[in-house]
């Protein structure tokens, strides 16, 4: 897995703005760089993959291609829930692969200067922080920016 700019902490000197797609996973607000997002789809039933990690929901038919879908809640260590029709699948491109993320609902598109992004604190006990690229506060809410590369790789390793 090659190092990607998404892995690096944001460069505070860069004056750019970043657009984030924010969404809800259970009661938490997460977001991803909108540049990684290909589309957002309504929930459809997945076909289970045998011997896959539990957070791999399965695969769906994305216009003729086979799209693996990750249950983000389970990936982030939350308790499994049964998907319902209000759930959505965010289709993302990361490291040359296309992947679906099951989330509860999409909330907003946020535009903010990159310097408002903060590196996540090093909390060894919190397993979730390994999936975080940055944190930010918007309207007094904490929004977590996901590091998509770290969400991905285990799939390849387990499956290979």
């Amino acid at each position: 897995m090659t190092a990607d700019t998404t892995n690096a902490a944001p460069d505070p000197s860069a004056p750019h703005e970043i657009e984030l797609l924010s969404f809800r996973v259970e009661d938490h607000e997460y977001s991803v760089d909108i540049m990684s997002v290909r589309e957002i789809r309504g929930w459809t039933r997945t076909t289970s993959l045998p011997h896959s990690p539990s957070y791999v929901r399965g695969v769906i038919n994305l216009r003729g291609t086979v799209l693996p879908v990750i249950d983000l809640a389970m990936r982030l260590g939350m308790d499994p829930t049964e998907p319902d029709d209000r759930n959505v699948i965010i289709v993302i491109d990361v490291d040359g692969r296309t992947l679906g993320l099951r989330v509860d609902a999409v909330s907003d598109i946020l535009t903010l200067p990159t310097e408002k992004l903060r590196s996540p604190p090093e909390i060894a006990a919190d397993e979730n922080q390994t999936f975080l690229r940055a944190l930010t506060i918007i309207d007094e809410r904490m929004v977590r920016v996901l590091d998509l590369s770290s969400i991905m790789p285990d799939i390849g390793e387990v499956a290979a």
Partner: protein, 738 residues
């Protein structure tokens, strides 16, 4: 935009493959003794064309070898060498080496000289040319002039061959104006009558000379000379002009004119022809000399079997791209001259079309399904329209698939090399006969057949055929026969490898299987079952496989490769008469005939070629073997029972499998299993969708497909499922592994 030279280079290597194919065909004809004059010409031309193209790309190793090869063939062509059996066999080896060299050049690698040199040396023994240095010298002519435009500084000593070296040095570098080079300030040119007959035109020559910036030109007319030789041009230059540059202009009419140089700066009256003749005398060229007639058969004789229609078809695809990409065709005349109306298409475009048609098939199935589920009656115009739509879709799909199809000929030719090498290695005389070379099959299937087929051919030579003395003792011809054939049979391609050897030594095979613990000592096996033991993993090991066919793989690997292609392999063998391996393959890899089954609410597709039969289990036939394993009695033998729901981690094992439905999978080899499913839904063709690229390998799963309802169904890989099954223990162990 890609570099056009790269495109031509790529197309050159494709052409080389075709030429090599033609070469081997011709050599085969020679070896069969059915050659005529044109056969050697075809072989010669193939090598010659490879050399010509290779020269353009500076593939020196190819050029040099092709040159030696071609020289020997030219000697056969001209009757200097008799095409003895040994020589033809040597030509085969040369062809093999040339193939290696071409492929190495394509892949930008090299071929070990240790492989090439012995063949060259042997070729040298046939050399009729007393001066081997001459050949080397000629090769220097094939240096890539395209890449070498510098001044080679060739001495302009007037020798004929030097003109080319001289021309290669163009455009001349002004700084290289070395004083010792002959220069002239006056050029006198007097055409001979023959000049006009060769299609040359003095005006054009003078115009070219004009590019050297002469200061004056004078025309003298001599009414007393012969017609056509009455004019003499004298061209003057203020600055001395290099003689070689002038000679270059007149290169083509050398010997058809009088050309002389003067160093005198002052205008001269005229140059007498006699004086001029000292430099360039008209050659003694009798005008009645007619080009040597080509061999009587070569002009209009129908092409030999080696140039069969299929080969012509393959030859065709170049036309569309070579036909006037630049200039507009004049009056639309050209297209109808093109030999065969074909186009060359990028493979990725075809694959995209294949994919799209796959989508169409899925879409059509989805549409049919929703119509069926709707309240429309079954006799409406919609349903009958859909029927036609279905048929059309199938036809389109089939046609599109055939775009990817290629004749198996190239594959078969590779096998004849394997036979040559294998028979030489074990010291047996073997003849390979092929049949159905023009049978077409998907390009990828052909590529992926090469390894298994190679192994089978080696096996046939090494194990199938008896030693020569044993053959003779059995009253058989000393020469063993290996036959390779391809044919279409009910929508599949059947490839057979047979030998006329001793047949499978079943007692020995059985004993080996017992020794290796593959079967119990008292196993009662039919002949067919014994034959199947050859496909068992672990059957072929060093003790049973010689170095030649072994190489660490057994027939189980062959079988896996064939199965991976959606194929089946079977054996028939008759003691004393020989063995036939028969491979049945789908025409394409893009679709698969499958059985749609349901397991724990998931739809799954089992490849039809893996299913022997479907069973409904009764309580009697299922026996519990251990806490986690069951077997089912199928016609007096016990077959492991695998619950697909459990194997795939979808559910816990059932208490009781009585009444369950099972697919008996695998053929009668050691890896049979009864796979329990909940229900059988359908039997249909499905479009294969890769899953590895987007996700990675999934154990027990070969690929995925999209069913009529738009849902993805996994296509199972039964051999992986069966081989890696570990009863019920497996699924839970892996399911949480992260």
């Amino acid at each position: 935009m890609s570099d056009p030279m790269n495109d031509i280079r790529a197309s050159f290597f494709i052409e080389c493959e075709e030429l090599l194919e033609g070469l081997f065909d011709a050599l085969q004809t020679m070896s069969d003794g059915s050659a005529d004059d044109e056969t050697i010409n075809v072989a010669f031309r193939a090598v010659h064309s490879i050399k010509g193209g290779a020269g353009a790309f500076a593939l020196d190793q190819v050029v040099s070898f092709a040159h030696h090869f071609e020289t020997a063939m030219d000697d056969v062509r001209s009757g200097k060498l008799a095409p003895s059996d040994d020589l033809v066999q040597l030509f085969f080896r040369c062809g093999d080496i040339l193939s290696d060299l071409v492929r190495a050049a394509r892949d930008e690698t090299t071929v070990d000289a240790a492989l090439v040199d012995p063949v060259l040396e042997e070729l040298g023994k046939y050399s009729t040319s007393p001066d081997s240095g001459e050949a080397e010298e000629e090769i220097s002519d094939f240096q890539p002039l395209t890449l070498d435009l510098g001044d080679l500084g060739a001495p302009a000593d007037g020798a004929d061959d030097d003109f080319d070296a001289l021309l290669a040095s163009l455009p001349p570098l002004p700084s290289d104006d070395e004083p010792q080079e002959p220069v002239a300030r006056t050029v006198v040119f007097r055409p001979e009558p023959e000049l006009y007959k060769s299609g040359n035109e003095p005006l054009f020559l003078l115009r070219s000379l004009g590019e050297l910036r002469p200061s004056a030109v004078r025309l003298d007319f001599d009414p007393d000379s012969a017609p056509g030789a009455r004019m003499t041009w004298t061209v003057e230059f203020d600055d001395p002009v290099k003689c070689e540059m002038v000679e270059e202009v007149f290169e083509f009419v050398q010997g058809l004119c009088t050309l002389s140089f003067g160093s005198d700066a002052s205008p001269r009256e005229s140059v007498p022809a006699e004086e001029a003749a000292g430099t360039f005398a008209p050659a003694d060229l009798p005008m009645d000399k007619i080009p040597e007639p080509a061999s009587p058969t070569s002009d209009v004789a129908p092409p030999l079997a080696t140039i069969d229609p299929a080969a012509t078809d393959e030859d065709g695809p170049a036309e569309a791209t070579t036909a006037m990409p630049g200039g507009a065709p004049k009056g639309g005349a050209a297209p109808k001259n093109m030999a065969s109306p074909t186009v060359r298409v990028d493979l990725s475009r075809v694959d995209r079309l294949v994919n799209l048609v796959g989508e169409l098939v899925i879409n059509q199935a989805m549409l049919s399904q929703s119509v069926a589920q709707s309240s429309l009656g079954s006799n409406t115009a919609i349903t009958s329209g859909l029927e036609e739509f279905l048929q059309l879709t199938r036809d389109i799909q089939e046609s599109v698939m055939m775009i990817r199809a290629q004749p198996v000929k190239s594959l078969f030719q590779r096998m004849s090399r394997i036979v040559r090498e294998a028979s030489a290695a074990v010291g047996k005389k073997v003849v390979l006969t092929t049949d159905g070379e023009n049978t077409e099959i998907d390009k990828t299937v052909i590529e992926r057949l090469a390894d298994p087929l190679t192994h089978m051919i080696r096996n046939a030579v090494d194990h199938g055929l008896e030693k020569t003395e044993d053959r003779q003792a059995a009253g058989k011809p000393a020469e063993g026969q290996v036959r390779l054939s391809a044919s279409h049979k009910s929508g599949r391609v059947v490839i057979e490898v047979s030998d006329d050897g001793g047949g499978i030594n079943r007692p020995k095979v059985r004993q080996i299987a017992i020794d290796k613990g593959l079967i119990p000592e008292d196993a009662a096996l039919t002949d067919g079952e014994i034959d199947q033991l050859l496909f068992m993993p672990g059957f072929s090991t060093a003790t049973t496989v010689s170095n030649l066919s072994g190489r660490g793989v057994g027939m189980d690997v062959v079988k896996n490769a064939i199965t991976a292609l959606g194929g089946r392999i079977s054996i028939t063998s008759h003691a004393g008469k020989g063995t036939t391996f028969s491979i049945s393959l789908p025409l394409t890899l893009a679709v698969l005939d499958g059985m749609v089954v349901s397991v724990a609410g998931e739809a799954l597709v089992m490849p039809l070629n893996a299913i022997v039969e479907t069973l409904t289990l009764d309580g009697e036939s299922v026996r519990r073997l251990g806490p986690n394993s069951n077997v089912v009695l199928v016609r007096e033998s016990f077959v492991p029972l695998l619950d697909l729901g459990v194997e795939l981690g979808y559910r816990a094992p059932k208490e009781n499998y009585a009444g369950a439905i099972a697919l008996l999978s695998g053929q009668e080899d050691g890896h049979r299993a009864a796979l329990v499913v909940d229900s059988i839904e359908d039997q249909r063709q499905v479009v294969i969708k890769g899953i590895q690229d987007s996700y990675g390998r999934v154990p027990g799963v070969a690929a995925a497909t999209i069913l009529g309802d738009g849902q993805i169904a996994l296509i199972l890989d039964p051999s992986d499922l069966i081989q890696n099954s570990s009863g019920q223990s497996r699924a839970p162990a892996n399911i949480e592994a992260v």
